[in-house]
Symmetry: C2
Subunit: 191 residues, 2 copies
DNA sequence: CGAGTTCTTGAACCCGAGGTCAAAAATCAG
DNA sequence: CTGATTTTTGACCTCGGGTTCAAGAACTCG
């Protein structure tokens, strides 16, 4: 009973995510969100409570999506090195091909709010941990498949890859494609 | 002639830099700057024109300082690998020992404003280029000193190190010291 | 000392950010 | 249809952000 919602909260969160991603948390106003979602400010507050809570949902969606894409991509056939290279190249291409250099929402968030927003910081940390798990699993699979040295410390390598990826996505805001591809090759030399 | 300034613009810029560094650009208000510098808002505007211009000076100071510290540190005796490791460890310690996780002002800036503020983006790019020059020079010195393989591509390695450093400083917001030290070791394995 | 100049400062200004609300609209049970 | 319930919406409110300004203070020159 009661009047039915005339929007899908999930798609509103997705649209909000895009806006936060592009403009950052502080620079996204309720008016921006209303325009981006096509839902009036009042309705957004009625449904989500506050800008901060909507952001939390957007960040969570981002993490879930990123995790799924990564998992799916790394599951493809081939060697670990080639798979991971292709994944890093894909991310660089996505970053560079967008109309505006927006990087990674998780990193942008920790840059903007890190140290001053417990919850956001922890959410980003969880995403990073998840990425590291996925990289670790992919490297271990490579070891079983025989395309990665058995004595390599998979966890350490995964941690290193996550660091490289983080660095790359920041560098993608100021460097060109060729340079970034070069960094990928250098970083993967040890695999 | 005229009434003399009763503050040193340079130290005000330095204090403003600290504030921007800790809170980010958008979250630093003129009131914050007045409090941090001990100079009334009106005087700040009289002297610097706008928040944005003061920020530009702060960012420039940051770049100059970072460049000097890096140059000085990498000039110390020892092998390239040890020198660079010590430098990365130093930065991690500085990031971790602060009362609040603030990372690198340049990266924070490009995360917050990248793609939407030409001047800031370019300023950060210049700093990154400068860091790469310094790393390159240090590696080439290592090659002359005989502690780095002569066939290593110094420029590519420097680019890679800058990426790693960037990643590390973001990771320093969510990971602990031991983990970060581990990443440093992995990253330097190829040197 | 006054005139001219430059700096200082709090008060005041405008606007937009973030959020609240009252009234209207849409649904369902009886 | 009535009432209970839930959602929608723009109008409205408050507050603080970024900036301007008018008045005064501190200096130099003649």
């Amino acid at each position: 009973m009661g009047r039915p919602k005339n929007f899908e909260p999930d798609v509103v969160v997705a649209q909000a995510m895009q806006t936060f991603w592009t403009k950052g948390y502080a620079d996204t106003s309720p008016a921006d969100l209303a325009e981006a979602t096509g839902v009036a400010k009042g309705s957004l507050y009625h449904c989500f409570g506050s800008k901060r809570e909507l952001f939390a949902k957007a960040l969570e969606l981002y993490g879930r999506t990123a995790s799924e894409v990564t998992e799916e991509f790394l599951a493809r056939p081939g060697t670990a090195k080639d798979g991971i290279r292709a994944y890093l190249v894909l991310l660089m291409d996505m970053d560079l091909d967008g109309p505006v250099q927006r990087g990674c929402l998780a990193q942008n968030t920790v840059s903007e709010l890190g140290g001053r927003d417990e919850e956001a910081t922890r959410a980003v940390h969880r995403m990073e941990q998840r990425m590291i798990e996925l990289f670790t699993a992919r490297i271990e699979r490579g070891q079983r498949d025989g395309d990665v040295a058995k004595d390599l410390d998979a966890k350490a390598q995964a941690l290193f890859l996550q660091t490289t990826l983080t660095g790359l996505r920041v560098m993608a805001k100021t460097f060109d494609r060729k340079t970034l591809y070069g960094v990928i090759d250098t970083a993967l030399a040890g695999l």
